[in-house]
């Protein structure tokens, strides 16, 4: 099971998904209309490390986070 967290202003409860890579996650999330404004501008972290490509394998217990545009300070 892979857990997906939506951070900051994305008002969405975490998901628990049976997936093995990020491309599968992209397909699932693209079907969710709630997320349409967020997928194109959010960064993705795997176990709290940012990733730059969908070419990433996932294993049981992994945690994915979606980070929408930031503005600290």
């Amino acid at each position: 099971m892979v857990r997906v967290d939506f951070l900051g202003p994305i008002q969405k409860a975490p998901l628990e998904l049976e997936i093995t890579n990020l491309s599968e996650l992209a397909l699932i999330l693209q079907k969710d209309t709630e997320l349409s404004q967020w997928l194109s501008n959010s960064a993705v972290a795997l176990n709290d490390t940012l990733v730059n490509s969908l070419d990433v394998a996932l294993k049981d217990g992994d945690r994915i986070s979606l980070l929408p545009p930031v503005c600290g300070g």
Binding site: L7, S23, N41, A43, V51, C71, G73
Partner: protein
């Protein structure tokens, strides 16, 4: 000292220099504490950057969400970069609501020489704005409204939105 003690020492050190507070920062106290912590470290230059909530566009204040695990790893990368130049960085940020004319952010560089400090504070603050996992909301009529138009997508964003 064994490997474990060394590791925990570094961890404590990293904790101390990144401080998160609920609500507004006590700016004079933080600036003083940092100055005194490094009083004998032989740094010639100390440059804090203090960010304060401006009264503009009719807001009542700002509010912040922070994702701490990634903020800490981002900060440690900068601390490593600073150490390579003989400098150190300290940072404080608010969680939750910060009202008009209160301060939500302090970053500071200490270095032996002024040039390194002047260059670091600028690069650090700009990367902080572009990369630190902190989300800002305007407070209006008691509600939190995400400040999307003033926010920056983190580098590498959008990979989940690309259709195959």
């Amino acid at each position: 000292m064994g490997i474990e003690s060394l590791y925990s020492l570094q961890f404590v050190e990293a904790e101390k220099v990144l401080s998160l507070y609920d609500g507004a920062l006590n700016v004079p106290k933080i600036l003083q504490d940092w100055y005194e912590e490094e009083a004998k470290s032989n740094y010639g230059a100390y440059i804090p950057f203090v960010g304060t909530v401006r009264d503009e566009d009719g807001i009542e204040g700002l509010s912040f969400d922070i994702y701490e695990p990634i903020l800490e790893s981002w900060f440690k990368t900068w601390q490593t970069k600073a150490k390579e130049s003989g400098a150190i960085i300290k940072m404080a940020h608010s969680r939750g609501d910060v009202l008009l004319h209160e301060s939500s952010y302090i970053a500071a560089v200490f270095s032996p020489k002024r040039r390194v400090a002047l260059e670091f504070i600028e690069k650090f603050v700009e990367d902080f704005k572009a990369s630190a996992p902190i989300w800002k909301y305007d407070l209006r009529d008691g509600a939190r409204i995400y400040a999307l138009s003033r926010s920056t997508a983190i580098q590498g964003s959008g990979i989940l939105g690309v259709k195959n």
